[in-house]
Symmetry: C2
């Protein structure tokens, strides 16, 4: 994809594709991936259905491309900022805190894109479910590696179990879905408090963590 | 509704209604409440569309009736069994453990009915969202009251915060959705371990709790 990038038509095509996927991910976070029809998306974006078909070929391909796009957005919004903190407990905290910010800022209007579509597809086997599960697994794997790194750096007690801790921290992020359901912000504070409490219990130096959940 | 109950036709009508709602809740737990069309349900149950309309009148009424029905199932499967344990920490544990069992036994084929439909409707204001939010609030309220009772009975430390603890225990139940997404059972063990660990930390007599997460 290096040479074609110099071609103006291809560049415009890439921009169009990004605009389409941005809108598709926004819709899916509110109404689910099944709500994504090529006809509806064409109407909302004021482009032709045949143009959309040229980009994606089928509804399933559009759904898969949307899941991949949302994964890139998640990496840019949650993972990349955490990399600016030093590896170990501080980065782990930035990751947890960054997830809450990403949900709270409504990067996707329906809250976390993945929280929305996981519940939609978890009991529906197929390529779309596999892509969602893979993206979710990637996040959990990254979280678990960050915990393991903090332990290897001597910043967490030796009995901190990375897999168990991953389950618990991930659970706290996901339960903030209630902020949407109840139109209330308190759950973000409770999630932050729960994460801080859990990490303090296994931190060698709790001073690396914030004092209060804000 | 006492006198009409003696009428055989009304009784048969009630049975039909229950059968319809049972099927509707099963479908919705897998495919969401939007997937519930009267036409599809009529075809699956081999009854006439006009008969279904006579029962529910509209798709929205059918969705609302399905949410209410699922709430009754949840009470029968999770709340009622916990009432057999003595009030306090033991009942609180039965409640947490019972929730995991209910999800794991697939009372609804798509896991917890509410976990499925909450993600579907959280960003879609309206009567259906309100009904789902109310049912979810009822569960959280009951969980919080159970924690408060255990504290009042002197079975939890005075600094145990019922609202915060409710958030955390509820988060652990909901994260078991991964059992569906990844077809794996380990998350139930991790959820049980997380709950036990959290409750042990605030229990005056940890002997009231099981020794291991099974």
């Amino acid at each position: 994809m290096t040479a074609p990038k110099l071609d103006g038509r291809v560049e415009r095509g890439d921009q169009t594709r990004r605009a389409i996927l941005d809108r598709a991910a926004a819709i899916a976070s509110v109404e689910g991936l099944e709500g994504l029809s090529i006809g509806r998306l064409a109407a909302e974006l004021d482009v032709s259905k045949s143009g959309l078909f040229a980009h994606f070929g089928s509804k399933e391909e559009l759904q898969l491309a949307t899941v991949r796009w949302a994964g890139k957005v998640f990496v840019a919004e949650v993972i990349a900022p955490a990399l600016r903190s030093p590896a170990g407990l501080r980065r782990l905290w930035r990751l947890c805190d960054g997830w809450l910010d990403y949900s709270n800022r409504r990067v996707f209007p329906g809250g976390c894109f993945f929280a929305s579509v996981m519940a939609e597809f978890d009991a529906r086997p197929g390529r779309v479910r596999d892509a969602i599960a893979e993206a979710h697994r990637d996040w959990q794997r990254y979280l678990q590696e960050s915990i393991s790194t903090a332990r290897e750096l001597g910043e967490l007690t030796a009995d901190a179990d990375p897999r168990q801790l991953t389950f618990e921290l991930d659970a706290f992020t996901r339960a903030t879905q209630d902020a949407l359901l109840f139109d209330e912000q308190g759950v973000y504070t409770r999630a932050r408090r729960a994460m801080l409490h859990r990490l303090r219990a296994v931190a060698i130096d709790p001073g690396l963590l914030p004092r209060s959940p804000r």
